[in-house]
């Protein structure tokens, strides 16, 4: 029990890094980690000893995050395409901030896969287990997410769906 608790606590910085990348908003991200930890503490007893903790724990966060996105979807307001678009100032193009902006433009599912691979360095199988999706879906989301990010960073329109290289 003591070891499990220590292992759980040791995961917090990584949960925070992932949440911060998922959400941008610092307070919201820490809130997500807090809720994840509360749920994890409660379920720690039922966590199967010997199973990998990371997919279990990040899976809890994923479920909470998806719940929030659903709720948030009700109260956000989308602007239409006619809204005048501000011209990006020259000092606006710090590369890392662009990356964050581009990251925020990915579909949530693509963002999750990309971040678990890039930040957590999970294997694709672990990502599939964490998000409870098939391996094929992991690969297609990774591929689309990376290409969309690349297109945005290069400032060109997002290309049509990729052809499969055979």
């Amino acid at each position: 029990m003591q070891d499990d608790s220590a292992e759980l606590v040791a995961c917090i910085p990584r949960l925070r890094r992932y949440a911060r990348a998922l959400m941008r908003d610092v307070a919201g991200a820490d809130d997500l980690v807090q809720d994840t930890m509360e749920r994890a503490w409660r379920r720690l007893a039922s966590w199967r000893r010997g199973a990998a903790m990371r997919p279990w724990l990040f899976g809890i966060m994923h479920n909470l995050h998806v719940d929030r996105l659903r709720k948030a979807g009700l109260s956000t307001v989308e602007l239409d395409e006619d809204t005048p678009q501000p011209v990006a100032a020259a000092h606006d193009t710090l590369e890392l901030r662009d990356l964050q902006t581009a990251l925020a433009s990915l579909a949530p599912g693509q963002r999750e896969v990309l971040l678990l691979v890039a930040l957590e360095e999970m294997s694709y199988e672990e990502v599939a287990a964490t998000l409870a999706i098939p391996l094929g879906t992991v690969m297609s989301r990774l591929s689309r997410g990376r290409e969309k990010l690349r297109a945005q960073m290069e400032g060109r329109p997002v290309a049509a769906p990729l052809k499969v290289v055979k």
């Binding site: 910085p13 602007l79 100032a89 890392l96 990251l103 290289v165």
Partner: protein
Amino acid sequence: MNPQLVREAELHAYADGLLARARGADVEAWLARHPADMERLQAWRLQNRQLRALFDPVLGEPVPPAMSAPPHWASPPWRLAQRLAAALLIALTGAAAGWILRGASPRAAQYAQGLPHQAALAHAVYSPEVRHPVEVGADQEEHLVKWLSKRLGAPLRAPHLGTLGYELVGGRLLPGESGPVAQFMYQDAGGQRLTLYVSSGQPNNRDTGFRFAQEGQLGVFYWIDGKLGYALSAGVSKNELAKVAAAVYEQLDAAH
């Protein structure tokens, strides 16, 4: 496996260092013959490095104690009761305050209560915008300020918060409860956004000190100065927001 054919999934696995070593040579041979794939693969690796550069600093931040403390196992119902009690208290206090203020000056009370709420709402709506955060960008600051001043019927200024790490993104005109409202948006290097909501509808010209309101995750500092009501909103700590609010207040005050 056919050494001539490399699948998309294998390119990703190679970029992430997840491909079986035996297959590596095949992928390298493929990349030598397919420069476009090579270019994509290098871009993916750069993305991985940049994402880590951007977010790894979070790993070094001190963990808030509440996160690592196990909750009180036996008492979830008590926690719920506590939350309900807290919510009820807030509701009652709000109602009581509204009642008392209403007795004094109904319009002023309504206004003072509405200001942080309207500001928080506008912040919540516009600050997550990626493509359209503002109507007029900071590159046209002079035009922006002139335009908003004209619409609000009062000389406005967009405070400069660069010393606190926040740069002006731009601004927009919004409908308020009693007329047009201006919203200036700022952003720091980490993408944290802050909005200054300026309303000209203050009915009684009665100045107030700083007040603070918490709207969910958002903190709002607000005050009334002459004809204008100001509300500064951001999802940052109360102390950090207070620093920014003080700077805004000083700059606007100096301009009088």
